[in-house]
């Protein structure tokens, strides 16, 4: 528990330093995806389910936020809870259908439902702007400044991470891991395995939708890519490359992902290829992610210190 407190402290310090070294919008984007990746890790790392459809919730959150601003000029205190509530419902329905099947089918179902919502967003052009995206999502007056917006995002991200940490450490959250490690035993001890999986899915969906709602404000547009299944792949990528075995691992993954996409896309517009290559290498040789590398380095240094 104490270690977690240090980790949060470190994270808070990094969040304060970040806008000094990065453009505030990039730092904000990193933190938004940190929420998404940590949320995804509740399903992947804690519950042991691979969802290939997290962009559904990210996108729906973004569209809700975008539409409420464009059409009604709604205030944030109304938008963000609406986005969360809608995604709880949506994740409840999709999750209910997906947990009917286990393993590979679960993955394929989350993926297919993602595509369904993408097509709705893509073809319903009068509502979403279709392929061109939904422009004109203006931030409220007090968040116009990028640094102000970043501060807002940083506070929200830290709160979200703390909440998620609280959830996975709660007795119910412990059941996620029980289901991951041995679903039969969890069932035999009287737990409803499907319900546990479903709650894990809904928790992740809610936070992902929340992050999506904030994302719409970032660049003032909701691109249709926000809900495309490749975005779901990106989310899995961030989670794994950071390290799914650690609560904070996906945060590192989000930093790495946004950094990689921002740097490489500057000089090569076929950057998804680099992404694919890095991802393939990680899957082949480094399944613990960056966290594992750090742990190995720390191990070597400790041994050297002990020897010296």
């Amino acid at each position: 528990m104490r270690r977690d407190r240090y980790s949060f402290l470190l994270l808070a310090v990094l969040a304060i330093v970040a806008p000094l070294v990065l453009r505030p919008v990039i730092a904000a984007e990193i933190l938004i995806f940190a929420i998404v990746a940590v949320a995804n890790n509740i399903i992947l790392g804690y519950t042991g389910l691979l969802s290939f459809g997290q962009a559904t919730f990210f996108g729906v959150g973004a569209y809700i936020s975008g539409l409420m601003i464009v059409h009604w000029d709604a205030p944030l205190w109304l938008i963000l809870p609406t986005a969360v509530a809608a995604n709880v419902l949506l994740a409840g329905v999709i999750g209910y259908l997906c947990v009917q099947r286990i393993g590979l089918y679960f993955i394929m179902l989350t993926f297919a439902f993602n595509q369904m919502f993408y097509f709705i967003a893509y073809s319903w052009t009068t509502l979403t702007g279709g392929e061109d995206g939904l422009p004109g999502v203006q931030r409220p007056e007090w968040l116009r400044d990028d640094l102000a917006f970043y501060t807002f995002v940083a506070v929200l991200a830290l709160i979200c991470l703390a909440l998620m940490k609280r959830i996975v450490d709660s007795p119910w959250g412990r059941l996620f891991q029980a289901v991951r490690d041995n679903p039969d035993r969890a069932a035999a001890t009287g737990h409803n395995v499907r319900l546990i999986k479903l709650t894990s899915f809904v928790v992740a969906g809610a936070f992902t939708g929340f992050a999506g709602a904030v994302y719409a404000l970032l660049y003032g547009i909701v691109p249709v890519d926000a809900i495309y299944w490749l975005r779901s792949g990106d989310i899995v990528f961030m989670t794994l490359i950071g390290g799914s075995g650690n609560f904070f691992g996906p945060v590192i993954g989000a930093v790495f992902f946004i950094w990689l996409s921002e740097t490489v896309s500057l000089f090569w517009n076929r950057w998804p290829m680099i992404l694919g290559i890095v991802f393939a290498l990680v899957v082949l040789f480094l399944r613990g992610g960056i966290v594992e590398v750090l742990a190995r380095i720390a191990g070597v240094m400790r041994r050297r210190r002990d020897a010296g």
Binding site: L97, V236, P272, I277
Partner: protein, 286 residues
């Protein structure tokens, strides 16, 4: 109206047969190797682009249909041999993610090699134009595709049910562990199955070129549809995948008549309905 409905029904069967070829390949790989092949869509796209390469470099439509799928087989086998195989000891999620990464790389490769703009291939001259079916006139080429895909499906069925190798593949779907115990080199079966799946994706891609054209994203577009086919069909059911493919094709083309915007969405609704009413799929046992 009858004119429209009849031609849309035939359209549905034609695209449905292409979905069926994709679905059968995915089912075989899923059944034997226990991985949903995320690179299946991009193999389909390579079928189409290899076809383009052959028709441009050598010329001859049917030569393309003959050669291109084997290019895809080579590609598929390389992926299995150098990637998927290295990951059998790891959790199957990692094989899936590896294939996803491969799909990303290959899709970008298509853009690098052939450019981001789509193109198309004309059907061969002797199949250009339409034929009068009485109720409707219909493009000859599409009818030919229907016949060819049907022949492929029958040939595959004969292979799976009448040959020893086919029996091993089927046994691999039923019980992989038992196949290993019987002393069969399961690695070879995996490679072969991946090859067959790749060939089916390749031939679907090359036959689809005059109907659907070529775009770099064509693989990513068809992949989720293929997954829907397999989910509706049920695990390991080859016959189910064929019927589900046709069902999906029909649902799509008939929706186009009344509510074109929903044509892409309706197949996912069908999938949702299947999961509620029959979670194991229409033809699945488990």
């Amino acid at each position: 109206m009858t004119f429209l409905i009849v031609s849309q029904i035939i359209n549905g069967v034609v695209t449905g047969m292409l979905y069926a070829l994709m679905g059968v390949g995915l089912t075989l790989i899923l059944g034997v190797l226990n991985i949903p092949n995320f690179a299946h869509g991009v193999l389909y796209a390579f079928g189409a682009y290899f076809m383009l390469a052959v028709t441009q470099l050598i010329g001859g439509f049917w030569l393309g249909v003959l050669i291109a799928p084997f290019g895809v087989v080579a590609l598929g086998m390389l992926i299995e041999y150098f990637g998927v195989r290295q990951l059998y000891a790891a959790h199957h999620d990692y094989q899936l993610l590896f294939l996803f990464a491969v799909a990303l790389i290959l899709q970008e490769a298509i853009i690098l090699i052939w450019g981001p703009v789509g193109t198309s291939i004309l059907p061969p001259e002797h199949l250009a134009g339409a034929v009068n079916l009485g109720v409707t006139i219909y493009p000859k080429y599409r009818l030919a595709v229907m016949v060819i895909t049907a022949a492929i499906v029958i040939a595959l069925w004969l292979f799976l049910t009448r040959t020893n190798v086919g029996a091993i593949v089927r046994a691999g779907i039923e019980n992989r562990g038992m196949v290993e115990v019987l002393g069969i080199d399961v690695q070879k079966v995996f490679l072969l199955t991946f090859g067959i799946g790749a060939w089916l994706a390749g031939i679907a891609g090359s036959l689809a070129t005059p109907i659907m054209g070529l775009t770099p994203s064509m693989g990513f577009d068809i992949l989720p549809i293929t997954f829907v086919v397999v989910v509706i069909a049920g695990l390991g059911s080859v016959v189910g995948a064929i019927l589900a493919g046709i069902l999906i094709g029909l649902a799509q083309s008939l929706t186009t008549i009344w509510f074109p915007e929903a044509a892409q969405v309706v197949i996912y609704l069908l999938m949702g309905l299947t999961i509620i009413l029959r979670p194991q799929g229409l033809f699945g046992k488990r």
